[in-house]
């Protein structure tokens, strides 16, 4: 230790204040190149964080266009064509450019090696490559949008994307292809990291629950994404060669496209939500100061969800011409997903029960998550009911359902994670008051935006139209007004987190009193090599009672 202080004292003689600090991953090298060529998983996580925040803002602007248009029954703000392009851009940006890389690539990159006591992920160069593939894909996507956008909806269903499309589908498909490979490489990296890089004593059933969730997510990324890649490649072939692999006029089958698309895109929903589920387990345990209830069953339910995720895809196609027997099987399997999801919700509640709960910002997000995820999940059961789905298919009920999962679930989980790890990422605290206020505004705004859409959908308002009957205006105005509140809620963290980054109070090693390695064995912010000494794990991850007792006896 003294040797190091001596060394840094020599090299940074002019920066007296740094003499007392160990260099951390943020300040050990300030040059731009040290960021752009970094192989450090923590810095790559930050690169992702900056990029996806930009994408989130852009996707949010597209959502704003949609909501402004829908505040009146007539199509008076956007033309039908522009409206199509707006909701397509919103969907593509939010799903492929924001949500899929959000928790895995930001939180996963930052926290995974820290939580398993590794110096880095297994393949640091591959990790950087995967970031640049993401940047390239997002860049190509932006080119497609700037040149006039895509009007197919985010699902790229044929023949909208083949015969009847004159927009920039091929360019966008190339962009998504790159993003897909970025996602595959991240997943591959994490799978190998979890298998081979765990520190001594960290057995599988001692892994933090977030790691289980990230592991399950990575497996889905590995197995699902190649299928969408080849599907988009075939779509590109169909568009450029004028052949009809998905075109019924030329002997092809458009339903095959839907099967191949959803074989990835349904599991992709779990790429978005599974990491959140793991993160919430961390947050609930930490702020209830209690060992999680049913550790093994939560861990295995993550894996179960990943497996079920792969065998329910055709529930998106109940009305598009699959056999009724297949539909029944897929309906049944879809119901089964509720079992591992329900297990998670009830184990969280049981963890909180008789815990010493403190309501800091991450916990507020965590509790909001439980409620909204439950509503999103239960409405999913309505949609997996065959008869009910005929009525609700392609209505705003579906839109509301998946926004409860994607926004109420995935994004709130992301916010919980961001606020949870912020002190570790930056070494500084943020204002808990503003944090809670932001969480509250987001919760209210979110429900105002999306709850009315359940009713709208039930009343029969279809998605993807820029006009609607006048009697539906009240609910639509509520939804648009809610979206405004939601936008304010999202703006607040940008402000107070930026403030915290520069002027926040120093956080110290473990401000939340968490028990996993990322908090107990590293500094905030961590050193470039994460650990001074590779830790040795001797017990399960969430022994709050014992650790608190240890503190008392000191």
């Amino acid at each position: 230790m003294s040797q190091l202080e001596l060394k840094s004292g020599v090299t940074h003689a002019e920066q007296a204040h740094e003499v007392h600090e160990k260099p951390n991953y943020l300040n050990h090298d300030h040059s731009v190149m040290s960021w752009l060529y970094t192989l450090d998983h923590k810095r790559i996580g930050i690169l992702y964080l900056v990029s996806i925040t930009a994408m989130f803002i852009l996707g949010g602007i597209m959502a704003a266009l949609v909501r402004v248009e829908l505040s009146t029954p007539k199509g008076d703000f956007l033309t039908a064509d522009t409206y199509n392009k707006s909701f397509t851009a919103h969907g593509v940006i939010m799903l492929f450019f924001f949500l899929i890389p959000s928790i895995p690539a930001v939180m996963g990159n930052f926290a995974l090696p820290l939580m398993i006591g590794a110096r880095d992920v297994a393949f640091p160069r591959l990790n950087l490559l995967s970031y640049y593939l993401y940047a390239l894909g997002a860049g190509i996507g932006m080119v497609a949008l700037l040149y006039g956008g895509v009007d197919t909806g985010w699902t790229f269903y044929t023949p909208y994307s083949s015969t009847y499309s004159n927009s920039y589908v091929t360019v966008m498909a190339v962009g998504l292809f790159c993003i897909g490979f970025s996602s595959i490489l991240t997943g591959l990296n994490f799978v190998v990291t979890v298998h081979r890089m765990r520190c001594p004593g960290l057995t599988w059933f001692r892994l933090p629950l977030f790691i289980w969730a990230i592991y399950a997510t990575s497996v889905v990324q590995l197995l699902g994404t190649p299928v969408i890649a080849i599907t988009l490649a075939l779509l590109g072939v169909e568009r450029t060669l004028g052949v009809g692999i998905f075109d019924p006029r030329l002997g092809g089958d458009p339903v095959l496209f839907q099967h191949m698309f959803w074989f990835y895109s349904h599991p992709a929903v779990y790429i978005m939500i599974l990491p959140s589920l793991g993160l919430i387990s961390e947050v609930i345990a930490t702020f209830s100061r209690k060992n999680v209830f049913g550790y093994k069953i939560i861990a295995l339910s993550s894996v179960t969800i990943a497996v079920f995720g792969f065998i329910v895809w055709a529930h998106h196609m109940f009305t598009t011409g699959i056999s009724p027997y297949a539909a029944m099987v897929f309906s049944f399997l879809t119901f089964s997903v509720a079992i591992p999801s329900g297990i998670k919700v009830f184990t969280w509640l049981a963890t909180m029960y008789k815990g010493a709960i403190s309501f800091e910002t991450p916990m507020i997000y965590g509790i909001a998550f439980i409620g909204l995820f439950t509503i999103g999940g239960v409405t999913g059961l309505y949609l997996s009911t065959l008869g009910m789905d005929i009525h609700l298919h392609d209505t705003y009920f579906v839109v509301a359902h998946f926004h409860y999962i994607m926004v109420g679930g995935a994004i709130l989980g992301f916010m919980a994670g961001l606020h949870f790890w912020w002190p570790k990422i930056t070494g500084r605290m943020y204002s808990d008051f503003w944090g809670k206020l932001g969480a509250g505004i987001i919760f209210i705004g979110f429900n105002f935006t999306f709850f009315p859409q359940f009713i709208l959908g039930y009343l029969g308002m279809p998605r993807r139209y820029h006009e609607y009957p006048e009697e539906l205006q009240l609910l639509n105005v509520m939804s648009s007004a809610g979206a405004t509140i939601l936008a304010i809620g999202y703006t607040l963290p940008l402000i107070y987190l930026t403030h915290s980054f520069f002027w926040g109070e120093k956080a110290g090693k473990n401000p939340w009193g968490a028990t996993t390695l990322d908090w107990t064995a590293t500094d905030s912010p961590p050193s470039p090599h994460n650990f001074d000494q590779i830790p040795v794990v001797t017990e399960e991850p969430y022994h709050f009672e014992r650790k608190e007792a240890g503190v008392v006896s000191h």
């Binding site: 230790m1 297994a122 990291t193 298998h195 890649a229 075939l234 052949v243």
Partner: protein, 263 residues
Amino acid sequence: MSAIEETEHGHGHNKNLAHHFDTLEQQHEANTLGMWAFLLTEVLFFGGLFAAYTVYRYKYSAVFEEASNLLDITLGAVNTAILIGSSLTMALAVRNSQLGNSTKTGHWLVLTIIFGMGFLGVKYFEWKHDYDIHLMPGKNFFHWQFAKKAKEIHTKEHSHRLPGPQDGVLKDDDPSLGVKARLESEQARLFYLLYFCMTSLHALHMVVGFGIIGVIAWKAYSGVFSPDYYTPVEIIGLYWHFVDIVWIFLFPLLYLLGAHLGH
């Protein structure tokens, strides 16, 4: 902090060990698992095409069998033999790198590339022939029933002249053809589309393989590998065997349909 310094010095004596791994063995296991995981994604990547193939072969089995018979089984079989040969040379390269014979490793790797290029050479003439007799989907595609005739003319004349309407070879949307003939032609076109997509994706994997094998052969000649460190040779071996196996599936699925019927 001193712990890090120590481990870094500890790593210093082996330049092949990356700083974030503790031992060469851990690094070897991680790299090998990484390649297996990558091959798993490749299985699903090709899997999309195989799924499409399965759907359409089931739907249009009669036409698929006939269409398959216009491909050249002999050239396909020769290529299969060449590729299996390249798998053998690759296995020998891996074995030699484990034994520490750097130069031999390099030789076997170069031989693997040569076999692979032989495969692609044969494939080039095969594709060109397929194009000449109008099997390539797109503007050049003619009605498949005339492909046989085109093939005869093309083979007989030994010229580069492409058979066309003057030889009685018709486009597949020619109005003089009946509805059934046109429908069948569309189905045949799907077969050839899958044929070209699958074989060219396979060829692309081979070309990528050449580049990587070339770099590793160069490393082998410069004596980088030893019985302690031969991971790159082993994982490129895994990759190459995968490329081989894909072809082992493609050959019967594309070339041998209905061959037992004596067409």
